[in-house]
Symmetry: C2
Subunit: 617 residues, 2 copies
């Protein structure tokens, strides 16, 4: 029954041979790989405003110059990633680039940062998607939906996890549509609002917040501007996705990927600056009472509550869900690379029935769900954790490109090194700034987690190396053949369930088999012994006393004693085990059997034989 | 290391032979068995007032007549329990009395009600104890402690659970002192307040709430009075404890127990009525803002904030903790009775290293902790769940006494049946009233849980009966001796770890052993085969293809195939297993081994041999 339920959820198993990679055309690839980057405009402007508003509305005008600075950073990092695309046409993720050019530890740091980052991609995008939906519901007169934000986010995560466990086969239209609708409606909104502004004049809304220069709070303002800049850097998240997946483009892959990256950056910059400008024009500020998103307020202001507003909100929610979905492609794949290189448990390298890395998908889903619950599905609260991992991987990836270009010494490699160097320098400076300004707002969690992950990778790798050394046959001595077998059958009473175990014991070690009963209640021993005479299959019975009512201790002691008898024998402990006919009945049986088996195997290193006895009903 | 940590927490194991039961003198027994009953005065009055206040302060005066009615009920049930004491000098818990006189199902209903009740005893008493402490802290100027109520309650539960797992040996002074201090300070407070009232006059506090008859809300008031009465019935919780434990009294046990019960009821009635009267006199009402308890407000009003007030609060907290502790004696013992009679898993009948029913203690601790978290350690919110189980067991226990007395037909048995009958009738009426008035306030949970428990008891009992039938040797045919053995060794590669398993396979079935390798990656098969030539110990290797990357399916199929070869052989599957040297390394190994073993044993009913290979570092 549980198996057919699994079939229903996941579908039929897929054979290994049906694996193939579709190669994507540019316009599909843009939709597939840029949903993460483009969707960040849904919250980047709000993140800046949420910091500035702390000092009062008069500072909100600063959001425009801050956004321009972020745009400059975005363009430089983007140009640097175009180089990565040409250098790694097989896919140049930060782990691969950093490990190959900078060494193992920088590679692992990049990997740890990326794993954290992918979890946050899911948590942030889903939370922001839920915020878009609850904002829409609020505007349509259902403000109560906000109460269920966490529940909604968890349902989304569960659904995406399940879909990815099934394996999403058709990546074409499904992925392209919401991305294009989102881009078109945002660009349309910006164009419409600007045209209306220049024809009709200022909107009939509260006037834009006037910019008054802060008088005697210069120092605080400098810090505030830094924080707002750091907050807005979330606009850069996801721009590395195309360079990670060059191999998925139709040939000429590198050229197509580079063109796609350029288009994406132009779209991203236009939407980000446009939304920030409009937010200033319409005097929109983050609303901590209704929690309506800035984008929702803006769309309402421009279009009023109507079908276009609803379409924009739905498209926003959908692209954010798609953005979360990119985490489900990236996390399991990076985990596979790490497991293949023995830095993570090998279970993460196995593909499940549906030809996907099921374990990685599950780990990601659970981690994201935990974050969503801890941060109550509030995207703005999650953002301080987000960008740190992204910029760590940016910095390391571009540093790797500098090193690579300096080594190769080909035509134009110096110029390339210079561009990557500027990108690395800027990313590194922003990284330090992010760590400082966001530290107390949650970044400390990431700063603690990444080194722990790197340490964990190394501990796991060392373990696997040691095991491989110990298992190596080059140092092996061929073991002596086993000449004599001794069997101990543990019996829990005189009943049918122990008969198969006793028969096996007699067959394996006809001259060296004993049955052992542990006497937990003082008066049981005699009763068992007398019943044994009749039914014991001629196997001698040993009754062990257990003054402390432990089952394990007397058995371990007895087995050690038995072992001392001969020098050349192999002792085997035979455990009869009931196999109940219904799953819940397992709770009523075999708990002591499990304990005994664990103690005999793990503590005493004994060979254990489990003989099942099937209960019919 | 984990073992020495366990030693530190629990102490050394205690041998079975050192079991003994102390017989208690009356004054010690009073303290030990009546802490649950006496401590209920700490919240019973408040429970009544909390209902009445809903209709406004003018109804608060009704608390006095309501308390008198509850007292009458208390006395009648008390007299009925005196008879139970004489009839069951070996201890007459409701499960035993109901099962013996009314049948199995009523016995199980009583048992289910009692199990629920004991969990609630712990949850309510601990929550009320924490309320006493936070009220004290609030009065002393630390209102912030209230925020940590749930945390405090969980720490208390963990501590009591741990102490009971160790086994509390010395029951004398430790238990007597807080109970007597509590009784003396409450009686002292009542006496002092009354004397001061008659000498000095009314206290200089807000005047008592004047009783204005409700004008046109008669129906609502009748319902309200019923609800307030039902709420106050918590004063009766715990009065059955003495009759459950008659065997622990010094001889003549029955007479001593009956005397102790009488003393307890007199004390209980005096304190309950006294507190209710004083609450009216001082115009004390439940405070939903500070959450200060009524008893704390009263003590502050009478004594002012000083050493006597602090002593009273501390004594209240202590007796409530003791009351919770009675749950830790009752729950595991009832669970033992039920497990012995096969209505609960047999693990609950085992005594742990310290000669206590460790599993029952753990189940109780976890259940109480869950309740405390769900109800935020609010005793008044928990109370609607509490009394229902108590009155179910009262009713069934006294009905059982009626039946017993009618059967015995001795001198005075008719009179005894009449008394028990009145008690049963009243308890039954109150039970229905409780179910009705408290239904929407949480009682529905108990009304659902008790039948589920009863059903569970019966399902478990049926399972154990069926197993016993299937295991019975009276229908057994002596099995054929095993003549031929076939061994299949599952190997995960060519390495040292599989050598012991292969050697064992050769020794067990020299002519019938094969090694099996499951080919998950298409290109591995050839590599393994060529390495096998060199190291395979002459055992033939079979490489199984697995197009769906499943390890289990091809192995199960192969084993079934092997089985068809001979009619008279026993197939054994040999699994080599790594034993890591550190606990966390288990996470990196043997997960597939566990899956394979489960599938082979539980799904295919095969004998599985686990051969350990110890990793040194």
């Amino acid at each position: 029954m549980s198996s057919s339920f699994k079939r229903l959820l996941l579908g039929k198993p897929i054979p290994t041979e049906s694996e193939n990679r579709d190669q994507l055309r540019k316009h599909t690839a843009l939709a597939v790989f840029s949903s993460d980057a483009l969707s960040s405009v849904a919250y980047a402007t709000e993140a800046i405003l949420a910091v500035l508003i702390i000092a009062g509305t008069f500072t909100l005008g600063l959001s425009l110059p801050i956004s321009l600075a972020i745009t400059a950073l975005l363009v430089i990092v983007g140009i640097s990633y175009r180089q990565t695309i040409h250098a790694y046409p097989g896919g140049g993720g930060a782990y691969i680039v950093a490990r190959e050019n900078l060494g193992v530890v920088p590679g692992l740091v990049a990997a740890g940062a990326l794993l954290v980052d992918y979890v946050l991609t899911v948590a942030v995008s889903i939370s922001a998607g839920v915020a878009a939906i609850t904002s829409l519901a609020g505007a349509l007169g259902y403000p109560g939906l906000r109460e269920y934000g966490v529940g909604l986010a968890l349902i989304f995560i569960a659904t995406i996890t399940l879909l990815n466990l099934r394996g999403i086969r058709d990546k074409g239209l499904l992925f392209a549509l919401p991305t294009y609708i989102f881009v078109l409606s945002i660009l349309g909104m910006i164009a419409y609002a600007l045209i209306r502004y220049f024809i009709v004049g200022a909107p009939d809304l509260p006037p834009p917040a006037s910019i008054e220069p802060p008088v005697n709070a210069e120092l605080i303002s400098a810090w505030l501007i830094l924080r707002a800049f750091a907050a807005g850097c979330t606009a850069l998240t996801g721009i590395e996705a195309i360079s990670d997946n060059v191999q998925d483009f139709k040939p000429p892959a590198a050229r197509n990927a580079a063109t796609t990256l350029t288009v994406m950056i132009v779209l991203l910059v236009t939407m980000f600056l446009g939304i920030t400008y409009l937010a200033n024009l319409y005097g929109v500020t983050p609303n901590s009472v209704t929690n309506e998103t800035v984008l929702s307020q803006l769309a309402r202001g421009v279009f009023g509550i109507g079908p276009i507003y609803v379409l924009l909100q739905v498209a926003t929610a959908l692209i954010l869900v798609l953005a979360a979905n990119t985490g489900y492609a990236d996390f399991p794949r990076l985990a596979f690379f790490l497991a293949r290189d023995r830095f993570l448990p090998r279970q993460l390298a196995n593909r499940g029935e549906r030809l996907v890395f099921s374990n990685g998908i599950l780990v990601l889903g659970i981690a994201a769900a935990v974050l969503v619950v801890l941060f109550q599905a509030n995207p703005i609260a999650l953002l301080p954790l987000y960008t740190l991992g992204v910029f760590t991987s940016f910095t390391l990836s571009q540093l790797g490109m500098v090193r690579r270009n300096l080594r190769t010494q080909t035509n134009g490699s110096e110029r390339a090194a210079l561009i990557s160097g500027i990108g690395a320098l800027l990313s590194g400076v922003v990284l330090v700034m992010l760590a400082l300004t966001k530290f107390i707002h949650g970044a400390w969690i990431v700063i603690i987690v990444i080194p722990i992950l790197v340490l964990g990778f190394q501990v796991i790798a060392r373990h696997y190396t040691r095991v491989a050394e110990q298992l190596s046959l080059t140092t092996a001595v061929r073991p002596q053949p086993i000449r004599r077998l001794t069997a101990v059958v543990l019996v829990s009473g005189v009943h049918k369930g122990m008969l198969p175990a006793l028969e096996l014991g007699r067959a394996l070690a006809p001259d060296n088999v004993t049955a052992v009963y542990v006497n937990l209640e003082p008066d049981q021993g005699m009763r068992i012994r007398s019943r044994w005479e009749e039914w014991g299959c001629d196997v001698p019975l040993v009754v062990l006393d257990s003054p402390y009512r432990s089952l394990v201790t007397p058995v371990l002691k007895y087995v050690q004693e038995i072992e001392g008898r001969y020098r050349d024998d192999q002792v085997m402990v035979i455990l009869p085990e009931f196999i109940p006919s219904r799953w819940w009945e397992h709770l009523l049986h075999n708990q002591t059997g499990l304990l005994l088996r664990a103690a005999l195997m793990f503590r005493a290193g004994k060979t254990v034989i489990s003989v099942p006895y099937k209960l019919e009903r």
